[in-house]
Amino acid sequence: MTSIENYKRVFADSLSLTNSKDIEKLEYNIIPEWDSIGHMSLIAALEEEYKISLETDDIIDFSSFEKGIEILRNYGVSFSNAF
């Protein structure tokens, strides 16, 4: 079991977010930090954190903070306090 706070931390660290406010509303390419390069770092950080390897289709589908939770659940990651 992992916490949503931990998931948020991975997001903030890998995308080098200086302001983690409203992180739950983040979507791909909406902020400069989550661009195609940032997406690579984010996926690598999540794989490292949760010891998983995401399939290409899931990497493409990983289009928002919320969608990421749904995808990670399919890899056996469960969240203690998700929405």
Binding site: S14, D35, S36, I37, M40, I43, A44, T56, I59
Partner: protein, 312 residues
Amino acid sequence: MNKKFTTDKFECGIIVSNKSEHLKIQDLYHEVVTLFEENGVILFRNFNIQPEELTEITNRYTQKYSGEAIRRASHYGQKVVRDVDTSGMEMGSGIIGGPAVDFHSESSFTPAWPEIIWLYCNMPPIKGGKSILCDGIKLWKNLTTDTKNFFLANPVRYQLEIPIAEGKPGKGKKPWYLGTIGAGNSYIDWDSGILHLTQLRYAVQEGRSSKNLCFTNHLFVSLESEPQLISRTMTDGQEIPKKILEEIKQKADDLTYEHSWEKGDFLMVDNLRFLHGRRAYDKDDPRELFLIQSERASFGYGSTTRGSLTKN
């Protein structure tokens, strides 16, 4: 036309000069888009732009910025505001010298090829370091029919290795999907922090004015000066014919415009139409230019230049 600013044609585009204390570039949206699509280069002067507010302007004209690799430093708390020159930077004292850079369309060999590039001069060089520009429409028109036919029929294959991470956040090799036409064979080697890919791209493309073709690409620079570019061939692996390369370089030289920078100059360039580069500059003649790359503009391609067959 709004009387708060004036326009003057110059050799390579149009100069928009501010005549009002409170006028902002982002408030001239429709005028700027129209002038940009028609001319391809706008030089903004007398707008008293501070580097801290560059993205307030560019955001208005941008739907998406290019995902820039790690080779250029960001500035003023704006991730997309980056150095033009990639080495020898000392904040406040400019880039301390560099060799000439041949004509190219910024990142035209990558999936993140920007539609617009913005160049801001924070510190002009005194003697050297002029930027050079060449209109890809004029260049295309000047090429021989044989050369035109060659590039219309044959895309160029760029083999790339792009550094994407310094901290190595992953391990091993991972296949990657870039979602760009012509991009393939892509994977990330997390042990080296390098994205490997092949990008196929035509050297000529349709301009914002649909009747014109633009010759914009990455055929002019040497592979030695562009470390991300591992090889550049035609799709069959053959080298680009030497005779053709000599022709395009000669004709681009004939169409070269040299821009002497002034502090605060802000240049908006149609990167799919214009080639750019720079002259060499010495250690004792520093310059500081910032670059912003709008991968996708906020306005449609040809949004102001296409007409109807019928009139109202």
